[in-house]
Structures are given as C-alpha cells and as structure tokens.
C-alpha cells in the first residue's frame, strides 16, 4: 500500500518560544508588539450556549467555547489552513478510505492524564451513540465513517464504528467512502476527545465547571447561565508556554444595540455590529469597525416540487426573477456591512472553489433588467397578465427589509405582484420543510471549508433540499466529487447548472461585521469559517 504522507513540522512553532509562561506585560515573541498587563479577552455572545460537551454542542457560541476547552486532531491557523492539534500529522491510504493519525506524546488532560488514541475512540463512539442521542450524530454520518449509519440506527454495537486505537498514540479511522477532505472535518467540535473516566463518573454533569476535565488551552472555571462563562489557561496544555491570553469571558447580551453601547463603554473587546451601523461606525472608529467575508450564503429558493406553483416550473420565469434582483442595492444600501453580491450558491471565498463565469455577474443591472423583461414576456407574463406569487421569510426586521426591497424591484421592473408573508422561525422551518411555500428565504453556512458543504443541498436526495430541485447531472457530479482528487471543475459545473436552471436566487454572501478593540491582536479575519482559538490571540498594550 502506497501511502501519501503529510507530516507537519509540529515542533517548529513551539520551538521558537523559549520556555516561560508570563507574557503579560512583555513583548510578543514573534511580532515584538508590547503586550498588555491584563491578558483578558471579553466578548459578547447573542445567546446562552446549548452545551460545552464537544459531542453534544450544536450552536456557534458553544462551539467557540468548546474549541478553547478541547483540542481535536487538527486545528486551523489564522488563514483556515490545517495545522496540527493533538495529532502531529496523518497518513492516508491510496484511495483515501483509511486515515491514520499520529498523536503527540505530550498532550495532557487538565487533570494530568495523557491524551491517548482511546480518548478519541471513546469520543467518536459517543458521538454516534443512540443512547447519548446527540443532534450532531449526523456529522459522524457525514464523515462517512464505516458503519456510522448502522451504529446510529442502533443496528450495530458502538465498537463496530470504523475507529481504532492501534496504540496509545495512533488513531485509525476507516471510511465507507473516500473523502479527500476528511482531515479538514476533524477541526469540528464533534470530533474532539472526551475523558472517559470523568464522563462515566459524572454523567451529563461532567461539563459543569466543578467536574470538567479538558485537554485544550483553557479550562472552564465559571458558568453563570444566561449571564457569562469564563475560561482560564490550562497549565497542563502541551503548548501552554506559547499561550498569551490568560482569561476569556463570554458575556451573554441578547440585544445587539445594548451590546454595542456596552462595547463603547469599554466593557467588551468584541461585539457584532447591528445591521446598518457599519458605515457610521467605520467612519467614527475606523480602527475598530471590521468586516470580512464569511462562509455563508443568503438566498431564496423556488418550490419546484409538485406542490409548487406552475409558473415556477418555467425556467424563464425563475431566471427573470433572479436577474431583476439588484444585489448591489441590497448589499450596499440595505445590509451595508461589507457583504458581497452573490451570483453563485457557494461563496467565492470557499477553498478550492472557482465560480463559473456567470454571464449574469458581468452584465450591468440595466442589461439584466432588459433581459428579464424579455424572458418574462416570452413566458407569457406582462402588464395585462402579471405574475403573482407569495414570498415567505422568517420573522425578522432584517429579512423583512430585504424581502420588501426585492418585491419592489420586481414590481417596478417586471410588474410582478408579490405577496409577502412571514412566520416565526420554527413554524417557518416546518412550512418550508413540507414544501408548503412558493418562494422562501434560505441561508446556509459551511460546516467545513469545501464547496460540497453548500452544493450537497442541491442533491435531489438531500434532506435540506427544500425546493426539491432535481437534476441527474448534479447528483452525478456531486457523487463523483466525493472520490475525485480534483473537485474544482466538478463544483464549477454544478454551479453552472444552478446558474442555468435557477432553482435558487443567491442574494449575498455574509460578512463578519464586528466592533473589535484595536488592542486585540491576531484576530483571524482570513479564516472564512471564523474558527478562532483564544490561544492564538493576544492583547497589545495601549
């Protein structure tokens, strides 16, 4: 068996630092910037996290905490590239179905126990366990681990899952399908290790501050639900000497305007920018208002199923509607936070993805509008016989603004009569999932930095394909992308089909829009997934 070997120079980073933990008040070892005495990072979260159990956590703010408390096989650097975590490197067999990870021998749990391959075996089996019933069992299935589906369904025992500890420092994963991007997926919190002894001793309560044992750069020292959680430096962490931030505090502030006020009062180092505030704040505080691309898309989906309207079965109608949406107005006037116009489903920032040369993107809005009028007339709609449909979004001021703007554009340019309706989030999801809509809002953020995390939604079998778009060619391309060494042209072709068939109207790609204290160093603005690690940050002396 010929092996592709990719080993990382793990020691390189750590060897540049001379032993000694006290960075506070000194200078940064690589950039030479003066460091603040108080290395505490305080940031705002929108809502209380669902859990800090790596196998259970479902929400973004919980995952951010889990990424600090636990360390998985691989980490991401500030640009989103894969760097060693607990594993120093990995090898894959020729067809990418068996991955072998080599673990570092100095990784420890916060109670001093060594981190071993069996901790990963335990955690991955735990994630698939029907008894734990994690909502993220689907992630284990998505990773195509051997027997994952059968284990989740309870048809096979936990130890049938394709994970093995060959010895204390060698962890082997067997996949049921070749996945070239598998190592990328091990940066996700579901795959982080769990301390078996502690979990078995305390049950569900093992993640409470008084019980928790973790292997990341930080330990959880305080959790006041709905108020704040605090994590502090883990002295047992293998790379603790290179960690600069001592303490990280997440404050739950539900209202974004209050959060901004508290940021301005100096209580926070980072907060999300309320919609529409970016232009003003970037003028008044240019050093603190930041915006950068995110791996998320905002779109509207046509209902192409049998329950959908007859009019939408005509591709000319769909195309005309997509053409007339002036994305520039939405990104620059409505959102105004550095969002980018979308002409493809997967964001341009996605790794290894090249959007097709969409004719639409290169046309001026006037040309698009003219083309749309023609197309709609061809389809038999005009001033005397206007196209009418219902457009649905989940209740929110922001979504309403966009929907109103879109319906006005259609009305003015095409004479289309749109009825707007909104529903509370869970009702909306149910309605959309039951194909009980005509045109509905959608948004998707990538789970990993690869185009399939978006384009798989267009698979006719996908449970997330709410518009029920079906294309045999797309299914075929997506299937072959799972095994192909060069996926870029395949994804480009899928996007080309989406551009031609218009099952969705991409509107914009998200931006991360923050107020960030200028003394926070090394925030990973280039990491499109915004997988940030507090251990990589530092506070500069003012």
């Amino acid at each position: 068996m010929q092996k592709k070997t990719r080993l990382f120079v793990a020691g390189l980073l750590s060897s540049t630092f001379i032993t000694g933990t006290a960075f506070a008040g000194g200078t940064h070892p690589t950039t030479g910037e003066p460091l603040a005495d108080d290395q505490t990072f305080i940031y705002r979260v929108l809502d209380e996290h669902t859990s800090v159990d790596p196998q259970v956590v479902e929400d973004v703010s919980g995952s951010e905490i889990v990424r600090d408390l636990f360390e998985g096989l691989m980490n991401q650097d500030a640009d989103g590239n894969l760097v060693p975590g607990v594993a120093t490197g990995y090898t894959a067999n020729e067809d990418n179905t068996v991955y072998t990870f080599t673990l570092r021998d100095n990784a420890k749990w916060s109670n001093g126990d060594p981190v071993t391959a069996s901790d990963f075996v335990f955690a991955w089996q735990r994630a698939a366990s029907p008894e734990l019933a994690s909502a993220y069992q689907w992630y284990i299935e998505l990773m195509s681990i051997e027997n994952a589906s059968a284990v989740i369904a309870g048809d096979k025992p936990l130890d049938a899952l394709g994970v093995k500890a060959l010895d204390d420092l060698t962890f082997e994963v067997t996949l049921s399908a070749p996945l070239p991007y598998f190592p990328q997926m091990t940066t996700h919190s579901t795959t982080f290790p769990a301390p078996q002894k502690v979990v078995e001793m305390h049950g569900d309560a093992w993640i409470k501050p008084e019980n928790i044992v973790s292997n990341g750069a930080y330990v959880l020292t305080e959790h006041l639900p709905q108020e704040r959680s605090t994590r502090e430096r883990n002295t047992m962490y293998w790379d603790n000497d290179a960690t600069i931030i001592d303490k990280v505090v997440a404050l739950v502030i539900n209202d974004e305007n209050v959060a901004l006020t508290r940021y301005m009062a100096g209580e926070l180092d980072r907060t999300e920018m309320p919609a529409g505030q970016f232009p003003r704040m970037s003028k008044e505080h240019p050093e603190e208002a930041i915006s950068f691309p995110r791996l998320c898309s905002y779109y509207y989906t046509f209902n192409l199923s049998d329950s959908g309207p007859e009019e939408f079965k005509d591709v000319r109608v769909r195309k005309a509607l997509a053409l007339t949406v002036d994305r520039k107005i939405i990104t620059e006037n409505v959102m105004a936070g550095g969002q980018t116009e979308a002409f493809s489903f997967a964001p341009v920032a996605t790794a290894g993805f090249e959007p097709p040369e969409a004719k639409m993107a290169s046309m001026s809005q006037a040309e698009r509008d003219a083309m749309a009028v023609e197309l709609l007339a061809e389809a038999g709609f005009g001033k005397d016989n206007p196209l009418k449909f219902n457009m649905m979004y989940n209740t929110s001021e922001g979504h309403k603004k966009i929907a109103v703007a879109m319906s006005q554009m259609w009305k003015q340019k095409l004479g289309v009569e749109v009825e707007l309706s909104n529903q509370e989030w869970k009702v909306f999801l149910e309605t959309r999932g039951n194909q009980d809509f005509e045109l509905a809002r959608g948004a998707w953020c990538g789970d990993y930095n690869e185009a399939s995390t978006f384009l798989d939604l267009m698979d006719s079998e996908s449970g997330y394909n709410d518009g029920k778009f079906e294309s045999a060619r797309v299914d075929e391309l997506l299937a072959s992308a799972k095994t192909s060494g060069d996926t870029t042209p395949l994804y480009t072709e899928v996007e080309q089909i989406i551009a031609n068939e218009v099952p969705i109207i991409p509107i914009y790609h998200y931006a991360g829009v923050y107020m960030m204290d200028s003394d926070v160093g090394n925030w990973p603005v280039n990491n499109v997934q915004q997988n940030w690690y507090s251990k990589d940050l530092y506070k500069i002396a003012e």
Binding site: A133, Q137, W138, I152, A153, P225, N254, T261, A265, V427
Partner: protein, 307 residues
C-alpha cells in the same frame, strides 16, 4: 379563616392541573418541535433524540409521565435545548434573580407610587398635584423596553457610573438599572390609581364627619383615609406582584440579568417543552398564592369583608 385558606388551596390543585393540560396540548399543537432546525436531523438521529426525551410516546403517556414525575420526584424533566441542564436547574438559577429584582421593583413602584398618589390627592389642584400627575403619566408612557436602552446609554456610556448589564450575584450596582426600568411604569399607574382612589375617599361622608369633629388632618389621612384608599390599589398590586416576581423578559434581555423571563420566552421560541411547562407551572402557582394573599389583605383592609 383557616378553613377558607384550606378550601382555596384545595381548589388550586385542579386549577394547576388544568393549566398543565392546556399548556401541554397547546405547546404540542404549535407547529415545529424542539428538534426542528435549519439542518433537520436524519430520520435515525431524530428517532434517537425523540426516544431519549420520550417524545416517541403517545401524548397522553407523555403527559402522564410528566405529571407523575412532578408529583413523585418533584422532577420537571430535562431541558431539550440546554443539554446538560434540567428544568429544576434552570428555575433554581433564574428564579432567585427574577425574585430579587422583581421584589425590589415592586417595593419601589408601590412605595413611591402610593406616596406620590396620596400627596397629589391631598394637595389636589396645586402645582404638586399637577407635577406628580405629569410625572405619573410620563413614567407610564415609558415602558421598560424604552427605559432599558435610555438608562444604559445614560448611566453606562455617558456617565460611566454603572455597569451596562450582568448580575454578579446581585451586587447593588447591577440592580439599580433593572429596578428603575421595571418599576417606573408601574409606579406611574400606582400613583394615578392611588390619587383617584384617595380623592374619592376624601370626598366621602365619613371623612367629612371626621373633619367636622375636629380631627387633625394627619390623623384623618393615616387612620381613616389610607386603608379604604388601598382597596382598588390592592387589586392592581396583586397581579403586578406576580408579574414582576416572575421576571421581565425585557429586563433580562437589556440587562443580561439571567432571570426567568428570558428563559420563559426563549423556551417558547425554541419549543423547549419541559422548560416552558415548568415555568408556566411556577407562574401558575405564584398567581394562585398571590391571589389568595390579596384576598386575605382585602379582609384586613375592609372590615366588611369576612371569610
């Protein structure tokens, strides 16, 4: 009196049961469930989740298990959203917070409101009256979701005197703004009700008699006018008491206090059935108890009322 109290408490049991049943079915009839998400879990995962939380059982069985768990073990079940916390945890954490700022708000609203109302009535048609009436109307017109941001802007951003939010175990700095925000509009209402009630009492025959026999004004107000004045105020204070004690979602949102109000609304939105039911039951029990206390207070205030 004692038998009256016992009778009321016995009636409370079926009332609370009815509340549980109504809330349970309404909740389950609302579209969507705790595991409805933008990424709907695959069928096998959903089946595991439902089995874990007993949602695969028929509704009557779920209801039966729920009620028996409460009665036998005082266990209100696990939260569907916060995986490592159960309803008892959530209430134990949030209720003391709501109770603290709620009770203080109640004290502030009722004491200041009643004093303002009385003063206005006694100094009827003077500048003091006009001033307190306009103050009352202004306070009433400023609901807490307006007061919240204004207070934070003033005390945190401009004056830099108070922290913008949080709880910190209930230190006074963290209590000031929530209490002001929550109490002002009630204060306004209480002062207006007190004022008009006091005016009515002051114009009644027995007060005229008291004046005629030469009692000093102070004695007339304290001994004779105040108690009857409190009757309509009392019927307003009862529900206000329950409302502020159970926490205000606005206060929780604007001041990040971590009280029960936010948990209640959040659980309805995320279809966290058990938390929603648990908090509803708590609110129900509180309402029943406070109503009983209000009725007992009537008897104390008005000698005509006997139980």
């Amino acid at each position: 009196m004692l038998s009256y109290i016992i009778r009321r408490l016995l009636v409370a049991i079926p009332t609370i049961l009815l509340l549980i049943i109504a809330c349970f079915f309404l909740m389950h009839f609302a579209p969507g469930g705790p595991f409805t998400s933008e990424r709907p879990p695959p069928p096998a995962v959903l089946a595991n989740l439902e089995a874990r939380y007993g949602l695969d059982q028929p509704l009557w069985k779920q209801l039966w298990d729920y009620v028996t768990n409460i009665v036998l073990h005082f266990d209100f079940g696990p939260s569907f959203k916060f995986k490592d916390r159960d309803v008892n945890d959530i209430i134990a954490q949030g209720f003391p917070i709501s109770l603290t700022y709620g009770f203080l708000s109640f004290l502030a609203a009722s004491s200041v409101g009643i004093v303002l109302g009385c003063v206005a009535a006694i100094r009827h048609n003077t500048w003091i009256d006009y001033f307190t009436v306009s103050l009352g109307i202004a306070a009433q017109a400023l609901p807490n979701f307006i007061m919240g941001p204004i207070l934070i802007l003033t005390f945190t951003l401009w004056l830099g005197l108070l922290p913008g939010g949080g709880w910190n175990g209930g230190q006074w700095q963290y209590l000031v703004m929530p209490v002001i925000a929550l109490s002002t509009s009630y204060m306004g209402s209480i002062s207006r009700i007190t004022r008009s009630s006091m005016l009515e009492v002051l114009n009644s025959n027995f007060i005229r008699t008291a004046r005629a026999k030469g009692l000093p004004a102070r004695t007339i107000i304290w001994r004779h006018a105040l108690k009857p004045t409190m009757m309509p105020v009392m019927s307003y204070l009862g529900p206000v008491f329950v409302y502020v004690l159970t926490g205000s979602v606005f206060v929780d949102i604007y001041f990040s206090t971590g009280g029960l109000g936010q948990a209640f609304v959040g659980s309805a939105l995320s279809r966290d059935y058990s938390v929603l039911l648990g908090v509803t039951i708590l609110y129900g029990v509180l309402t029943v108890v406070v109503n009983l206390l209000t009725d007992l207070a009537y008897a104390w205030l008005d000698p005509k009322i006997r139980y």
